[in-house]
């Protein structure tokens, strides 16, 4: 019975979790491993899932922890923490005018490669907010941080995205 209930709750999230896993790992085979592990762990821990709490955030959190403990995740881990400290390129972000943002928004490739160029920490928070449309509270649950941290990390991540777009703009103009 519990399995059936889990199935009902978890399978609608399948596409979303897989897409997110691909963005995190940058590799379809790694993403499949990650999603499979996530479902196995979630099913196993479903008994401890407190009803009334956010199921989607819970699933994303399991996926994220599995990623951080995976081979590709471990490689990223150091970069993950450093990203919190770095701020060097943020100056570039301030050069970006709204007009330039408009221009780059027209190029799907520019957006995708800018997202790919970000550190995992920055990429993931932008995806959770802008692509998966999670609230700050949900994101805080996924990342296991305070809601205030979500806001500051998100703002830094967006600044880095702008910087990446500005860099690609300069390339394009050359």
């Amino acid at each position: 019975m519990e399995r059936a209930f889990f199935d009902q709750l978890a399978m609608p999230l399948f596409d979303q979790l897989y897409n997110h896993a691909c963005w995190l790992t940058g590799d379809r085979a790694d993403a499949e491993d990650l999603v499979q592990e996530t479902y196995a762990k979630a099913l196993k821990g479903f008994g401890s899932f407190a009803e009334g709490t956010n199921f989607r955030a819970w699933m994303f959190r399991i996926l994220r922890n599995a990623f951080l403990n995976s081979r590709s995740g471990l490689k990223q881990k150091t970069g993950y923490l450093e990203a919190e400290e770095a701020g060097a390129d943020e100056a570039l972000a301030h050069e970006v005018t709204p007009e330039m943002l408009f221009l780059r928004s027209e190029s799907q490739d520019a957006i995708f490669s800018a997202l790919e160029s970000l550190t995992v920490a920055h990429r993931e928070i932008i995806l959770l907010c802008d692509v998966d449309e999670m609230s700050y509270r949900e994101i805080a649950e996924v990342l296991d941080v305070q809601p205030g941290t979500v806001m500051s990390r998100l703002s830094r991540a967006r600044a880095m995205l702008r910087a990446a777009l500005a860099a690609s703009h300069k390339e394009a103009v050359k």
């Binding site: 889990f6 979303q16 956010n54 709204p98 928004s105 027209e106 997202l115 806001m151």
Partner: protein, 250 residues
């Protein structure tokens, strides 16, 4: 405000994320009217965000992979030949039901239109709620004495949903409770009314979430009450809300 700072850019982002406190929204909207820089910034942020949407479906899992995970989590079944006859009977029954249901589609689409109209009129209204509260213990009692039935609301605190408020509406000339719930940046209406057997003979568009005029809607009937959950949030969001409601109105 002449020169806008980083704080303002954060406020603009929070505003677009739907995360700005209600009392901060109005001053910001007023500021946007008088600050072309910030207005241009908001427009650029919106276009960037729109451009990022395709990232949501850039990678889709293969059917084979989905089956693999599905079989990993679902209940083990043995599919022997003894299942064939019951399966055939079920298929036949389903065909009969579909025939009956399609005969009632006129009634159903009229019902749907009314439900959709109520939802849209709520979105468009400047004063959408008769009772504004994020506390179910405020919203639910408000309906007492105003509608001739009682219903339960699940606990929204800590869930992906926020209770926004409720109002009294009429569906099929009958009083109904409309409870509006926020899900991310979407609003979802829950409409609850007494089941009227003469107007809705069979459950309209029943069986999970259906799509009508780009709204996702799920409906069911329980203990003489008819529930509708409708909104432009994605299907899974509607379905999870429907399940939460079903679990407290069993």
């Amino acid at each position: 405000m002449t020169r806008c700072s980083q704080d303002d850019r954060n406020a603009l982002a929070a505003y677009l994320d739907g995360e700005l406190a209600a009392d901060q929204e109005r001053p910001l909207q007023e500021h946007l009217r008088s600050c072309p820089d910030c207005a241009a910034e908001v427009a650029a942020m919106v276009s960037l965000r729109r451009a990022m949407k395709p990232a949501a479906s850039r990678f889709t899992p293969t059917a084979e992979f989905r089956r693999r995970v599905q079989s990993q989590i679902s209940v083990k079944r043995s599919f022997g030949s003894r299942w064939i006859w019951p399966a055939a009977v079920v298929a036949l029954a389903a065909m009969v039901l579909i025939a009956v249901w399609s005969g009632e589609s006129a009634v159903r689409s009229q019902t749907f239109r009314e439900v959709a109209d109520l939802h849209v009129s709520d979105l468009a209204s400047a004063n959408p709620y008769d009772v504004v509260s994020s506390d179910r213990h405020t919203v639910k009692p408000w309906f007492q004495g105003r509608i001739p039935f009682a219903f339960n609301l699940p606990e929204f605190a800590g869930s992906e949903y926020t209770l926004l408020g409720g109002r009294l509406v009429y569906l099929h000339q009958q009083p109904a409770a409309q409870v509006v719930v926020g899900a991310g940046r979407h609003k979802v209406s829950v409409l609850i009314t007494q089941e009227n057997s003469s107007l809705a003979p069979a459950s309209p568009f029943s069986g999970g979430v259906a799509v009508r005029d780009s709204f996702n809607v799920e409906t069911w009937q329980k203990n003489g009450l008819r529930f509708y959950v409708i909104g432009d949030a994605e299907k899974a969001v509607i379905h999870r809300l429907a399940q939460a409601l079903q679990s407290v109105n069993g």
